[in-house]
Each structure stands twice: as C-alpha cells, then as structure tokens.
Amino acid sequence: MLVGITILLVFQLIGEISAYFLGGFVPGPVIGMAMVAVVLTLTGGMTFLEPAHRQTVDTSRAILANLGILFVPAGVGIIQHLDLIRDRGFALLAIVLLSTVITLAVTVWVFILVKRLAGGYGHD
C-alpha cells in the first residue's frame, strides 16, 4: 500500500514538474498517468520490480474502486453558485443533457463503425 501510493504520488510530482515547464498546457496528473502506464509497460519483464508493480496495481484498484467519493468535496462547491443555478440553471442543464447525448451517440457509432470497417483486416 505504502509503496503503491508513493509510486503514484512520485509520478504525479514528475507530472506536475513537467506541466510547469510546459506552461500548464497539459495538467500534471495527466502527464503522470501517461508516464506511469509507459514506465510500467517498459519495465514489465523486470522480475525485481514485480513487488512494486503489484503494489501499484493493488493501490490503484483500491483508489479507483472508491473513485466516487473523490467527486464529493468539489461537487459540494455548487453551493457557491446558487445564483447562477437560479438564473441560468435551465440553460446549464440543457447544455449538459444535449452534449452528453450527442457525445455518447457519436462515440458509440464511430467505435462500432470503425470496428466493422477494420474487422476485415484481421489485426490482433
């Protein structure tokens, strides 16, 4: 657990440092996420790193299994925007609903269409 959380935090730190030098173009945790996936993949065959890999996987699973609670503190921030919700709440809800439906439809259609088109070429 401790090894796992340390690895995640170190990758976040590396991500934040990179983000600083990139002028905040990409958020630090996103860079950390990409780096942790690449580094784990590249070091996948190294047996002496196996315990660290396992702990990182276990810690990540525990965090991702409880992902929902992490949205609560930020979501409660809605109480700072009660006036915007009172005045423009309907417009906000309409934007969220419409763009959610459109995005779901486009994503699922492109996925299925391209899968069918690419299916004939037999890549693994």
């Binding site: 995640l8 935090l9 990758f11 976040q12 905040g24 173009f25 990409v26 958020p27 630090g28 945790p29 996103v30 950390g32 996420m33 990409a34 942790v36 996936a37 784990l40 993949t41 996948g44 810690t59 965090i63 991702l64 992902l67 929902g68 609670i69 992490l70 949205f71 609560v72 503190p73 930020a74 979501g75 409660v76 921030g77 809605i78 109480i79 915007l84 423009r88 417009a91 906000l92 809800l93 309409a94 934007i95 969220v96 609903l97 419409l98 763009s99 959610t100 459109i102 995005t103 779901l104 439809a105 486009v106 994503t107 699922v108 492109v110 996925f111 299925i112 391209v114 899968k115 890549h123």
Partner: protein
Amino acid sequence: MTDGLWVYLATSPLLWLAGTLVVWLAANGIAGLSPGNPLLNPIMLSIAVIAIVLLVAGIDYGTYFEGAQFIHFLMGPATVALGIPLYEKLSLVKSNLVPLLAALFMGSLTAVGSTVFLSHLFGFTPAVVASLAPKSTTAAVAMAISSGLKGDPALTAAVVVLTGICGAIIVTPMMNAMRIRDYSARGFAVGLTSHGIGTARAYSVDPVAGLISGIAMGLNAVLTSLIVHLFL
C-alpha cells in the same frame, strides 16, 4: 454548552472530513438497496445531503473544504492511477486499437465542441464557457484545464459531476434504444462522456464495459487537455 461544542467542531477540519466519509458510506448503502437504479447515485446523494446541511447550518464552503480537502487531494493520485488499467489491459487496448482511437478522437472533439457551441448559443460569458468545456473529463483534470483557461474550477467541478450523473443515468436506456449490444463500444462511450461516474456505472453493468470505460476516461483526459486549445 452544546452550542459551544458545535461552534468548536463546525470550524475544525475533522468534522467535515469525518462527515463527508460517513455521508458517503450511508449514501452507498442507500444506493446499494436498489443497485440497478441510476437515479440513486451515491455521489449525487452525498453532495445533496452535505450541501443542504451546510446551507441550513450557515457554514461557508471554505470552512467545509478545510476538512474535505484531504479527500479532494486524492484526485491527483487517482488520476495517475488511471494509467494502471491502460497498462494492465494493454491487450484489450491493442485488439481494439483502431476503433478505440477513432472513437476517442471523434468523441473528444464532440464533447468539447458541442459544449462550447451550446454555451455560446445560450449566451454564457467566456469564463463560464471555459468552465464548461472540459466537463467530460474526470474532475481533477477538468478543474486543472478550467483554471488554465481562466474558468472557475468550482463551477467546473459541479458541471463535471452533473455530466457524470447524466451520462450514467442515460447510457443504458439510450444504448438499448439504439440497439447497441457491443459492450466494449458502450463502455468506451460512457467512460469518454461521463468519466469516473460513467465508469462506475459501466462496471455495474458489465466488467469488460467497466474496464474499457476506465481506459476511455484516461485517454480522454489526455486528449481533452490538448484539444480545448483548439476551441478556446
């Protein structure tokens, strides 16, 4: 005497940290009574209960956040942790690479593009548009993108949660109505659109849908942070 205790506790981080955890566990318990019902979303329930308590008790958000920040901080490592399903399920990514990348690219453009277009249409200020634009990505990433674009991260957080809950509620009836039975496609769409909340929903429907949803959420976080600059 009890008034004194309340004043003492209400301003300490411990009360709001412990309170958030207790409310979350209770909300999860209530949601667990009817697992198939997306309206009983534990995130929505928890936010509603805590918001009402704060408003009734006259506690400002800053005081609440003093305690809740310890939970909020884990958003960062949780975002890094999204890299793990990518690494673990590399074969799932590889075997679906072409449809996955195509859907990622088009979905991400649609998510940001439709939001920016609609919010201009409704006449919102540039600061609000910037706050809404990254709403399909997970909260930590969306808030970072929003503050980078001079938006309001608190508004972003609320809209991100709303987008997550909307997608989680809509996805199953919508995909059934569209007669889409490919669970990797369904999972990918809900993860891209509704980040962690959609992924939690996908896991409760189908394990493969959940995995690929987590992958979509991670990839969309990366792509959205790049493509918002095309729109704003």
